[in-house]
């Protein structure tokens, strides 16, 4: 056996294939592909715009291409490692700047050449960072970090920045005028309505004062301390005024906040009860929880709103046909709350199920052996342990409710909500600045809640502290509670069945509310537009799901396994999408990508990008979770056996997370299929999406056709999800044989 195999893989100053390959690719792309596009069309070859043709006239283009060439030459020279790294880094960074300059100077929509060239330079920057010893990672990882950082900046931070900018720059002037206009508008928030005989402000303050006095007196009797009296009186007084103002007020802020509070409270409460049911019930009905909790994931959120109209609207089946009423009571806050509670309870349920499951049963057994009753244990052990998880679920459902766009549009009863005002300000009133102001207000609210959730509540999970839960038999609920909660759950299931049923029935009913005869005309009416849009949606969602998942897993891998400057910032900004309402991101994309060299609106690409970066955080989460399952020494071992990080990712990490990757892919696909709030801004008659089309049908009064397309969507999603669960189970079973190797 030749002992030469033991020698170092490469001498330190041999030619660097990484540098040569990337600069070759960058150079080829920059020379042969067109630098500019003529209009919105992406795949049109513009003559006279290739790098070769621009070389003579555009000096910045020539300089950028020279940088690429220089990087290739550096790769071929016999240089010490560090020196080469430094020089490649400098040259490639200069190249990036030159590409940006060249694009900025022309102001025309960019073509594929600068994209290839720029990405090539980014890879070279990464390789330079790695070779130069600035990052303790190989070129692949370093380049990945650079790529990901740039993508996050362009497609997440830059659009948000564009929203902020539009809110304070009106016609090129820095001003807070727009904020003033919006804040004074009755559409935004109004407590004292001049048109009502009642003086709402006075009622609110009177109520606040009464509550304050009562709370103060109670505190004086119970606590007998001046400080307690003051705290309680002031706190209760302010709360009283706020509640009264919310109840009596008008405007988008009032509506959104009131709705979010109601929905957050009910969803979390129901979610916790259902979580107890799922983990602790003795009744067979608990098995229904799994499938039922998937429903909202596969349904565009507003489909429940649509179903609410069918059942409880003016011509609703229950309200009109059964009860003989003609009421609009359910159109507005009441119906909207119900639709959102139905949609978001499963989210709270899934979060809280984890909390209840992770609770150490030994603690409850300890409580019981100390003589506590079931109720006492529930009150003194389970509840305090679950409290942070409950706060967490509450805050997240509040964010979801605030950000929801579809339901308020469908059954908001024409009242303003923050998420919809963002949309109507642009689409109805053609005022991007006003939309931006509404967006900023909404963003501030959700972001505050997100930060509270992440840094205050998020760190108070007791459950994770205990570490290893004992494998005792789960405790059962007190029977009275078990039956009561099961009763509530069954009502909930009945409602869900009715709502989904009405959508399915509605899609084959002649004219809901008037003529309940069977017809296939709505389903047939989907041809050709409906089917075409459905196919477009499916293909765009699929195209977006792949990079979304891969990027998410890559970021998850980078942030869990490597430390590099800006790691926390990267993690935080990529998670931002959780907190940024879709409508805000939507106007961000409109404002950021509607002109200049980054012109993308009206193309499929912008919708794909919106999907990719909207769904990436979910993939990051599941990526992080999946990678935490892998013993780190597996990767270290692979490294020591001479594998580079790309090889390690491909040969060790990817096979071990394949089940998680597959489900991540499917969820990214499904979320894209059902997304509405962000893409509603980005669709055009040419590039339309199912959800937007359903909303359009609703607006034009074609309820039957809306129901038909919704049914198709829901059934399709259900099939996809079931296929996914089936294959994930098989993958897990196959991996399970090997997975026990990790002791």
């Amino acid at each position: 056996m030749a002992s030469s195999t033991i020698a170092l893989a490469r001498p330190a100053h041999a030619p660097s294939t990484t540098l040569i390959a990337w600069s070759g690719l960058a150079l080829a792309g920059g020379l042969l592909l067109p630098w500019f596009r003529a209009g919105r069309e992406l795949a049109v070859f513009v003559p006279g715009a290739t790098g070769l043709e621009l070389l003579g006239s555009e000096r910045t283009v020539a300089a950028a291409l020279a940088c690429a060439l220089l990087c290739g030459i550096l790769g071929g020279l016999r240089l010490p490692l560090y020196r080469r790294g430094q020089m490649a880094l400098t040259t490639a960074a200069l190249g990036c700047v030159l590409v940006v300059l060249a694009l900025a100077r022309s102001g025309q929509p960019m073509g594929p050449a600068p994209v290839v060239l720029f990405l090539g330079f980014l890879s070279l920057v990464g390789a330079g960072l790695s070779l130069g010893g600035y990052l303790r990672a190989d070129a692949f990882i370093a380049a990945s970090i650079v790529w990901v950082a740039v993508f996050v900046v362009i497609f997440i931070l830059y659009p948000l920045w564009a929203v902020l900018q539009a809110s304070v720059f009106v016609k090129g002037r820095l001003t807070l005028e727009m904020f003033g206009v919006v804040f004074r508008s009755p559409n935004f928030l109004m407590v004292g309505n001049p048109l009502t005989p009642m003086d709402e402000m006075r009622v609110a303050s009177t109520l606040g004062a009464v509550v304050a006095v009562i709370a103060g007196l109670t505190a004086a009797v119970v606590a007998r301390r001046l400080r307690a009296v003051v705290v309680w009186a002031v706190g209760a007084g302010v709360a009283g005024v706020l509640v009264a103002a919310l109840y009596l007020g008008f405007g988008a802020v009032r509506n959104s906040v009131l709705l979010a509070m109601i929905v957050g409270g009910f969803s979390t409460g129901l979610g916790f009860l259902f979580a107890l049911l799922a983990e602790r019930s003795q009744l067979p009905t608990r098995r229904l929880l799994g499938p039922v909790s998937i429903l909202p994931i596969i349904t565009p959120p507003f489909v429940l709103g649509l179903a609410m109209v069918y059942l409880f609207g003016r011509q609703g089946f229950v309200t009109h046909s059964v009860l003989g009423l003609s009421t609009t009571a359910f159109s507005g806050l009441l119906g909207l709350s119900i639709a959102q509670i139905l949609a978001y309870t499963p989210i709270a349920f899934l979060l809280l199920q984890g909390v209840v499951r992770a609770m150490d049963v030994a603690l409850e057994e300890a409580s019981e052996t100390l003589g506590a009753s079931n109720w006492y244990t529930l009150r003194t052990v389970i509840w305090p342990l679950a409290r942070p998880g409950i706060a967490n679920a509450f805050l997240l459902t509040v964010i979801e409710s605030l950000a929801d766009f579809g339901n308020p549009v469908v059954i908001g009863g024409g009242k303003p909500y923050l998420a919809t005002e963002v949309f109507y300000a642009i689409v109805g009133r053609y005022n991007p600045n006003e939309a931006a102001v509404f967006g900023v207000v909404l963003l501030c609210m959700t972001l505050t809640i997100f930060l509270i959730q992440r840094y205050w509540v998020g760190e108070r999970f007791y459950v994770t502290v205990t570490g290893r839960p004992t494998h005792a038999t789960p405790r059962r609920l007190p029977p009275a509670l078990d039956y009561a909660v099961t009763g509530v759950f069954l009502v909930w299931v009945l409602l869900i069945v009715l709502l989904y049923g009405s959508i399915f029935v509605g899609s084959v009913t002649n004219l809901w509310g008037f003529d309940y005869t069977f017809t296939l005309k709505h389903l047939k009416g989907l041809s050709p537009t409906g089917w075409h849009v459905f196919r477009t949606t499916a293909s765009l969602s699929l195209i977006a799901a792949i990079p979304s998942t891969l990027l998410g897993f890559l970021i998850g891998y980078l942030v869990t396994r490597y430390s590099f400057p800006g790691r926390r910032a990267l993690e935080f900004s990529s998670m931002l999408s959780f907190a940024v309402p879709g409508t805000v991101m939507g106007i961000g994309y409109i404002l950021a990508f509607n002109q200049g060299t980054l012109l993308l609106t009206g193309t499929e690409l912008i919708i794909i990008m919106a999907f990719v970066f909207r769904n990436m955080p979910v993939a990051i989460r599941s990526g992080v979770a999946a990678i935490h399952q892998i013993d780190r020494s597996l990767e270290e071992c692979s490294t020591m056996l001479r594998a580079g990080s790309a090889t390690t990712l491909r040969r060790v990490v990817a096979p071990l997370v394949q089940a998680a990757l597959l489900s991540g892919l499917v969820f990214a696909f499904v979320r894209a299929m059902t997304a509405i709030s962000q893409v509603i801004f980005l669709v055009t008659p040419r590039v339309n999406l199912s959800t937007a089309l359903i909303l359009a049908y609703v607006e034009h009064g074609s309820m039957g056709r809306a129901a038909a397309l919704s049914s198709v969507l829901v059934v399709f999603m259900a099939v996809v999800i079931m296929a996914m669960y089936w294959s994930v189970t098989r993958l897990d079973a196959r991996a399970g044989r090997g997975a026990q190797a990790k002791p």
Partner: protein
């Protein structure tokens, strides 16, 4: 078909290289993990890094592997400064604590992994894997999944996977901690025999002092990031350089003593003893429990039996004396224990005690 492993053996023997640490320091933020360590590992030796958790032994090992990088100082393998080299370029392999067998690959593919990464031809891979498997004694298990193997077999797969790369240095990161006590003894004997047979430079990390004593040529005792003592197992046991080493390696009684000319006095008991290089005056007398003789009368340090336990092969006593509590493991009285409260005399044989600085 098992292939004789002579070729691999020879290559491994030829490749064995010394390892050198030159003033290596490693900081994790404010934490000083390894503090100015200089160390020489001779080629072909098995050197153990021993110490309590957090003493820096694993960090030191990982710096040889290239999985961590020194904040200051240089690391040499053979005559080459490998400090800037990534793990992949160091010709070093490692047996990981939990073996780190790739659960999705068969035994054969696990061992072949590194060769596949290096894109060796299929025939060579088959040949070399087969050699490595016969070297560690794993015949006929090529197509098994790691999960289907016993702990000892998994251990051997990990070893074969490391050896097949023909490393200059082989690293072990607490390789026995996942085995039960009985198996541990056997596997550690296997590792030692194989290592001696191959003459490969091995660096072994453990917190188990009996393991370290059993298998090492040289033991490096580490504490809080620095080296307390380097020596052969006998050296460390008989002649510890510090209270820490005396206490960490085996059990030790550390008694305040006074050194006189040609004798040592401990708790009023005086016995002839000489140790070169020890100054007269206060000192600490180290004596192992099994080296204390216990008697009812005669010469010796007087004491009273506080506790007495039957331990099977010996009797375990705690004796209260003027010099403090003394732990004694006595095999003479195992059939008839001294009663608690009994007055006894303790005698120290000069060949089994050692003087340390006072402390």
């Amino acid at each position: 078909m098992a292939v004789p492993a002579t070729q691999l053996k020879q290559v491994l023997h030829e490749e064995a290289s010394p390892v050198r640490f030159e003033r290596v320091t490693k900081r994790f933020g404010p934490v000083l993990a390894v503090d100015d360590v200089t160390l020489e590992v001779p080629a072909g030796n098995l050197v153990t890094l021993l110490g309590p958790s957090g003493c820096g032994k694993t960090t030191a090992l990982r710096m040889i592997a290239g999985l961590e990088w020194p904040t200051e100082g240089r690391v040499y393998i053979g005559n080459e400064d490998v400090t800037p080299l990534p793990a992949a370029n160091r010709s070093v392999t490692m047996v990981f604590q939990a073996y780190a067998l790739f659960p999705h690959l068969t035994v054969f593919e696990n061992i072949a992994y590194g060769l596949r990464v290096m894109r060796r031809p299929q025939a060579e891979i088959r040949q070399r894997v087969s050699e490595a498997m016969s070297l560690v004694g794993l015949p006929g298990l090529e197509q098994r999944a790691p999960a289907q193997l016993s702990g000892g077999q998994q251990q051997r797969v990990a070893l074969a996977r490391a050896l097949v790369m023909q490393p200059k240095v082989l690293l072990f990161d607490e390789p026995l901690s996942n085995l039960d006590a009985k198996l541990r003894k056997r596997v550690r004997a296997d590792i030692r025999m194989l290592q001696q047979d191959l003459g490969i430079t091995s660096i072994y990390v453990t917190h188990d002092q009996s393991e370290a004593l059993a298998i090492s040529d040289i033991v490096v005792v580490m504490n809080q990031g620095h080296i307390e003592q380097v020596g052969t197992p006998t050296d460390l046991y008989r002649r510890p350089a510090s209270r820490f080493v005396a206490d960490f390696i085996g059990e030790a009684n550390l008694l305040p003593a006074v050194v006189e000319d040609g004798a040592v006095q401990v708790g009023g008991h005086r016995f002839p003893y000489q140790q070169p290089g020890v100054a007269l005056g206060a000192a600490t007398l180290m004596v192992r429990p099994e080296s204390v003789r216990i008697a009812v009368g005669g010469e010796g340090l007087p004491g009273r039996v506080q506790t007495a336990f039957f331990m099977g092969t010996y009797a375990d006593y705690l004796i209260e004396t003027e010099a403090g509590e003394v732990s004694v493991a006595d095999s003479q009285s195992v059939d008839r224990l001294y009663a608690v409260g009994a007055s006894v005399r303790l005698q120290f044989s000069p060949s089994a005690v050692y003087l340390l600085p006072p402390g």
